[in-house]
């Protein structure tokens, strides 16, 4: 059995081929440093790549959207993309992308970040826009807010009326870099993986934010 070994992996070099520029000595931008052993990281990247390939396949079967689209075109494209992804991934289960080793590594990373001196500031930013904490201004009285629930289930719709949590940049620099089609978000205390444009929850890890004041 291979002994799991946590290594500090600087991804800037690995990701250069994926369009991410290497961190130069002059740069003020910190490097992408993911505390995850190489094999676990490779597995996670493989799962994400598989999803992106599936998504590409879906895109060939639905009407395209241009970068000068009308509201009707955008809405139709999003609906078609969302429905097709849910159909293609029918039966998908939690942990298929965030496998056990990946989940453990992500939990360690987040625990370390939230336990650091600036942990409370990170949690404050995660609450911002988090759909269990923040609602939408009401159209009748925009000084009042109305919450929009999000059901935390794999391969279900992310309520299109709900806001998105902030994901602090320093956390993004510690988590594995994702392609443009997929995003990390927080819903309540869970970290989710969501398609960037389709309203689909692809996977999630529950109870990663250690703040009981955040509703589940």
């Amino acid at each position: 059995m291979m002994r799991e070994r946590a290594v500090l992996l600087t991804l800037s070099g690995l990701l250069a081929g994926a369009g991410c520029s290497a961190t130069s000595k002059e740069s003020l931008v910190p490097p992408q440093t993911v505390e995850m052993d190489a094999e676990t990281l490779r597995k996670f990247q493989h799962e994400v790549e598989e999803y992106v390939e599936l998504r590409q396949k879906v895109l060939t079967k639905i009407p395209p959207v241009t970068t000068k689209a009308t509201p009707d075109q955008i809405a139709a494209h999003q609906k078609a993309l969302t429905e097709a992804i849910v159909a293609y991934r029918k039966g998908a289960k939690r942990g298929e992308i965030f496998g056990p080793e990946v989940e453990a590594a992500v939990r360690r990373t987040l625990h370390r970040a939230f336990s650091a001196p600036d942990g409370p500031a990170l949690i404050k930013e995660i609450k911002s826009g988090n759909p269990t904490v923040e609602g939408n201004p009401s159209a009748r009285d925009p000084t009042k807010e109305v919450k929009q629930p999000v059901t935390l289930t794999v391969n279900t719709f992310y309520n299109s009326a709900a806001p998105f949590s902030s994901v602090p940049p320093s956390l993004l620099l510690k988590l594995p870099l994702l392609p443009d089609q997929v995003r990390y978000r927080f819903v309540g205390r869970a970290l989710i993986l969501r398609d960037t444009e389709a309203n689909v929850i692809l996977d999630y890890i529950p109870e990663v934010v250690p703040d009981p004041s955040i509703p589940r």
Binding site: L28, T67, K68, N136, S138, A139, P163, L177, T196, E197
Partner: protein, 390 residues
Amino acid sequence: MKRPALSWNAEVRLALAALALLLAGSPAPAQELRLPVKDGSIRFAVIGDTGTGSTAQYDVAKQMIAFHAKLPFEFVIMVGDDLYGGSSADDYRTKFEQPYAALLSGKVKFYASLGNHDNPDERNYKDWNMSGQRFYTWRASPGGLGKLDNPGVRFFALDTNYMDKPQLDWVESELKKSSSEWKIAFFHHPLYSSGRTHGSSLDLRAQLEPLFMKYGVSVVLTGHDHFYERIKPQHGIYHWVCGAGGSLRKGDIDRGTGLTEVGFDTDYSFMLVEIDGTDLYFQAVSRTGQTVDAGVIHHEPFPASAAPSPLPPSPGSTPVAPAPVSPGPPKGSPAPVVSPSPSVSPSPPASPSPKPSPAVKTSPTRRRPATPRRSPSPRPSPKPSPTPPP
């Protein structure tokens, strides 16, 4: 004959209702413009947290339209939360296209950044000119593309919902490349805010502020907190929160942060900006057309920094607070990323910087004509030259 009280009251109510309908149907009368309307200047409006489709959003839009007649601004900066509660075709119509219809038909362009209530696919919407990008840059210069010798004003629209490494690298690369005299960044989450609900985004600040300081960003426009706030200059950078274009959190400004230069959290608002050479004039306007803040900041040729001076209030206008120079981060503000200089000159970041230290100097009060003049023969309008991210 004495009228029954009920009937008389009913008539009064009817008359009031008719008057209200009349007023609602026409743009609200604009109050006084406090910007100079100079020939060849770059003019724009700033709105944030607009997309509620509420009466308040429409009221603010009417004020923008009324002011556009006095200051024909070329474009509008949107600092996010452009559509609340979904992005159906109907949402685009009732929360954007209808309230700003008069501006859109008048060829005013909108440049959006996305907030935490916006679906990322909104970047494909034609009228937000994002070219499918979640972060992008363009340059506005007097005279348009033909005047390539004019460094103009470069805008950087960022996606602070997801500030990952590729975007941070892009920000650094684009800021480094730009030789524009004015570099203006706009995005949703404020690096500095006195909002009780959200407040300053400290983690985001830790990543972006060193880049802004090193590469000469002068102005940062944000939203997220639902009010208007002009922040005391931080390390020579002017920060605004313009998050009350359609949403409002009354009384949400915490006056104890020490960050606020001018704050307005009792009604909805938007901001007008005019840039003429090294001067940036601004005017924040409420839903009722009242001026809630106005002034000018002066930008010495790069790398020297800006210094504000108040515009003298004009007769009949709402007095606005002056804009004194702030020597550095105020007491009680969250810990800055870099150490402030003990003098009146904000220090550069602790990180290596090839640029000389930007100096804020207390410039003498700049004079302007008591009555702003309309430009008799406007120069060609500023034309943006988009540069999408790679």
